[in-house]
């Protein structure tokens, strides 16, 4: 058998529902029938029904097979996943909607995530697979969504609310542009394993890897190695990426920071980066209670105060960040003031102020 290479992925057409194929590019409008249930109407008058369910993203083959079975039973075998890791069944028969919803709920997969809800949490590997992780990702998502899932199954928020978790500042996923982002961080300079460093790493490459120039050559026990100027280290872990002897993990000092007000869409306002809300919360598995209640609090405050169709960052921009800190009760600290390249542009350069808290 000749070895097959570079064939790329299977062509998507093979996987399209016949109704979709017929109406491809000819959709007219859509309606929401219930949270998690959409109906897209084609120019031809045909309708495709979508039932969306939450997924833990980390799926065993047995669950995959279960999804396949559900698809066979209710959607002619057609299904897809979304850009936020939800699963969507594509039905031509509306009579199958309720049975499918029941089956999904029984199997433990909540239906929802559409429109002005909290959809699935985009997240990363964490302790499941990544060497770089300052925290776990899946566990935080599970703990958080156990608390927030009513906002998944109901469309009860002013606008879409996108939550994301990244287990380190590499920020795999669009964490930097999320309504609420939970970010694993280090808070101590690398601990250097001088014994293994020489063998494992090239010292010049290592020194060059540090964006702040905190790493310099040193001699320890007569051997060439490096040391780190502590004040200059911003715990970015870039040195660890190029050299495993620069250990970043530190159970006491690693933890989570919370960022808010980012968005991706161009709807109304331009895309925005998330901004720091809480600089540090402890890494507290298995349920990260500090993180969960901090996020739930922010969601509550937002839900109560924002106007209709106002994303979290649009709300904070309208009412002002001081109001955000006041309403959430989160203390404003020196860490909230930027000190990076563009810091100056984040200072308040006007007298536009709401002076009565």
């Amino acid at each position: 058998m000749t070895r097959i290479t570079d064939i790329g992925p299977p062509h998507y057409e093979k996987f399209l529902h016949p109704l979709i194929k017929r109406n491809y590019g000819h959709w007219l409008y859509h309606e929401t029938l219930a949270p998690g249930v959409l109906c897209h109407v084609a120019e031809s008058g045909e309708r495709i029904y979508t039932v969306r369910a939450g997924s833990p993203r980390l799926l065993s083959v047995s669950t995959i097979r279960r999804f396949a079975d559900l698809a066979d039973q209710y959607s002619g075998g057609y299904l897809r996943f979304t850009s936020r890791h939800n699963i969507e069944f594509l039905l031509d028969n509306p009579a199958n909607i309720e049975p499918l919803k029941r089956a999904l709920n029984e199997a433990g997969f909540p239906v929802g995530g559409t429109n002005n809800s909290i959809s699935n949490v985009v997240h990363t590997q964490g302790w499941i697979h990544c060497h770089s992780a300052a925290t776990d990702a899946s566990g935080i998502v599970k703990a958080l969504m156990d608390r927030l899932h009513p906002h998944f199954t109901r469309e009860d928020l002013p606008a879409k609310l996108r939550v994301a978790v990244a287990c380190c500042v590499n920020m795999c996923g669009a964490v930097h542009c999320s309504d609420i982002a939970i970010l694993g961080i280090h808070r101590k300079p690398p601990q250097i394993r001088h014994d293994t460093l020489r063998k494992a790493c090239e010292i010049p490459t290592l020194i060059a890897s540090c964006p702040t120039g905190a790493i310099r050559p040193a001699v320890v026990d007569g051997k060439r190695t490096v040391d780190v100027i502590e004040e200059q280290c911003m715990y970015c872990s870039n040195c660890f990426t190029v050299c495993a002897a620069m250990q970043m993990n530190d159970p006491e000092n690693d933890g989570l920071s919370i960022w808010v007000g980012g968005k991706v869409s161009n709807a109304r306002s331009e895309p925005k980066f998330s901004k720091l809300a809480i600089p540090f919360l402890p890494n507290n598995p298995p349920r990260w209670p500090e993180v969960v209640s901090a996020v739930a609090n922010i969601v509550d405050v937002y839900a109560r105060h924002a106007r209709r169709f106002e994303r979290l960052g649009e709300w904070t921009e309208r009412v002002g960040w001081p109001r955000f800190f006041e309403l959430t009760g989160i203390p404003f600290t020196r860490y909230h003031i930027d000190d990076f390249r563009y810091a100056g542009l984040s200072y308040a350069r006007s007298t536009h102020m709401r002076l009565r808290p």
């Binding site: 290479t5 570079d6 790329g8 992925p9 062509h11 998507y12 399209l16 979709i20 491809y24 959709w27 859509h30 897209h40 979508t50 997924s55 993203r57 980390l58 065993s60 083959v61 047995s62 669950t63 995959i64 097979r65 999804f67 396949a68 698809a71 075998g77 057609y78 299904l79 897809r80 996943f81 979304t82 699963i87 433990g108 997969f109 909540p110 302790w127 697979h129 990544c130 060497h131 770089s132 992780a133 776990d136 566990g139 998502v141 703990a143 669009a174 930097h176 542009c177 964006p211 970015c236 495993a244 159970p251 991706v264 869409s265 161009n266 709807a267 109304r268 298995p286 349920r287 169709f309």
Partner: protein, 395 residues
């Protein structure tokens, strides 16, 4: 092989309670007949106890002839968890739009049950099917089974990464171009660049059918293709009236939120000064039955997004304001050739294209790839007075 008695995992067990579907349950399901998944559970419990990860740097592992598609991974206490001593993931290129049939999913499940942990991510943050954890000696076999079934690996390392796209014209009335066709064609066109890393660093392409940007292209793709239209929003007055009758506060919730400040609702009639419309989608989003993008459709091409490491996060910025639908693919391919050439020549190791543009300046980059400067490329013209004039412009 699993041990007779699985190690207790009290911390993780806690995460099997509660309404949200549990990844712990998934691992346990896989662990029922997979020793690697069982050890993964144990190792993860250890991380939960120790509050730190137990994975080490991956070495270079992969399949024959490919430089990417596999992330090597080893744990740091292999004596205790030998079945995940090697636990490499394969990134399998997903079908555009993440559409599957039940059979396709079963095929993947079967292959992965045979060769790996039985655990997956559907999907990875870049969009790949992540097959989560295999021994080195299983990589090639998995690969061969995958290609035999019509699947192939995605990108990793300093390569073209697996392109992704929104559901687009398959199920969305707003898609201003065929994102799935575009994504699939592009993926096929750059198999070599995906599988044999040729660049200074990673390069990602994502395509969204309209400015809602449902694949977050503007935030996380080096080249972001975002559908947009040029002519007027199509408007159905009767349907507008329906929304108003149904209780939508059009003045407050639509007009007042329009960033173009170009909508007026008289209480009976909606007018849009389309010339000032910023194509933000908001009014269309709120009244999908009444408003639709125009018919002169195409895409904007933006460049340079990335995560913060290490010079700060970037959003993509406008490179080509509008390309008609029919020319998108050819334009992107032509641009990619020029961009990659420039990057190859001037990019430093581990420097994303967005960082390179910041370093050399947008104007120099445009010169380099042969594009004319256009005012749509900037949010505002420069406010700093230190202009480097070019020799040919002075005497």
């Amino acid at each position: 092989m699993p041990e007779d008695q699985p190690k207790p995992t009290p911390l993780l067990d806690e995460l099997e309670t509660g309404p949200w579907p549990s990844f712990v349950t998934e691992i346990k399901r896989a662990a029922e007949n997979n020793p690697a998944s069982a050890d993964l559970l144990g190792l993860l419990e250890r991380s939960y106890q120790d509050r730190k990860g137990h994975w080490k740097h991956g070495g270079i592992v992969g399949v024959r002839g490919y430089g990417s598609g596999v992330i090597g991974r080893y744990n740091d206490i292999p004596d205790e968890f030998p079945n995940v001593a090697q636990f490499h993931t394969l990134r399998v290129n997903h079908p555009s739009g993440w559409f599957y049939t039940s059979d396709a999913l079963r095929t993947l499940a079967d292959i992965w049950e045979r060769h790996g942990s039985g655990l997956t991510n559907l999907h990875g943050a870049t969009g790949d099917i992540i097959l989560l954890g295999a021994r080195t000696d299983q990589l090639e076999a998995t690969f061969q089974d995958l290609t035999a079934a019509g699947f192939d690996l995605g990108g990793s390392g300093s390569a073209m990464r697996t392109p992704s796209c929104c559901v687009g014209q398959a199920r969305c009335e707003w898609a201003c171009f065929d994102t799935m066709k575009f994504c699939n064609n592009l993926t096929q066109a750059y198999q070599d660049e995906m599988h044999r890393p040729p660049f200074p660093y990673k390069f990602k392409v994502k395509a969204s059918g309209c400015p809602n940007d449902c694949v977050a292209a503007i935030a996380r793709a080096d080249l972001s293709i975002i559908g947009i239209w040029k002519d007027d929003i199509r408007q159905d007055d009767a349907a507008v009236a329906e929304y108003a009758a149904a209780g939508l506060d059009i003045a407050r919730d639509v007009c007042a939120r329009c960033p173009g400040q170009c909508m007026e609702w008289t209480g009976a009639h909606l007018t849009i000064d389309n010339r000032d419309c910023k194509r933000c989608m908001h009014c269309i989003n709120v009244m999908p039955k009444a408003l639709r993008p125009g018919v002169e459709r195409g895409a904007a091409i933006l460049i340079g997004a990335k995560a913060p490491i290490v010079q700060g996060a970037l959003l993509s910025s406008v490179l080509v304001p509008f390309v008609p639908e029919a020319e998108i693919e050819a334009t992107v391919r032509e641009l990619l050739a020029r961009i990659w050439e420039f990057w190859d020549e001037y990019g430093k190791n581990r420097e994303r294209i967005g960082e390179l543009i910041q370093r050399v300046g947008m104007a120099a980059f445009l010169d380099g790839i042969g594009l004319e400067p256009r005012p749509e490329m900037v949010a505002f013209p420069r406010d700093n007075p230190f202009v480097f004039f070019q020799k040919e412009d002075t005497k």
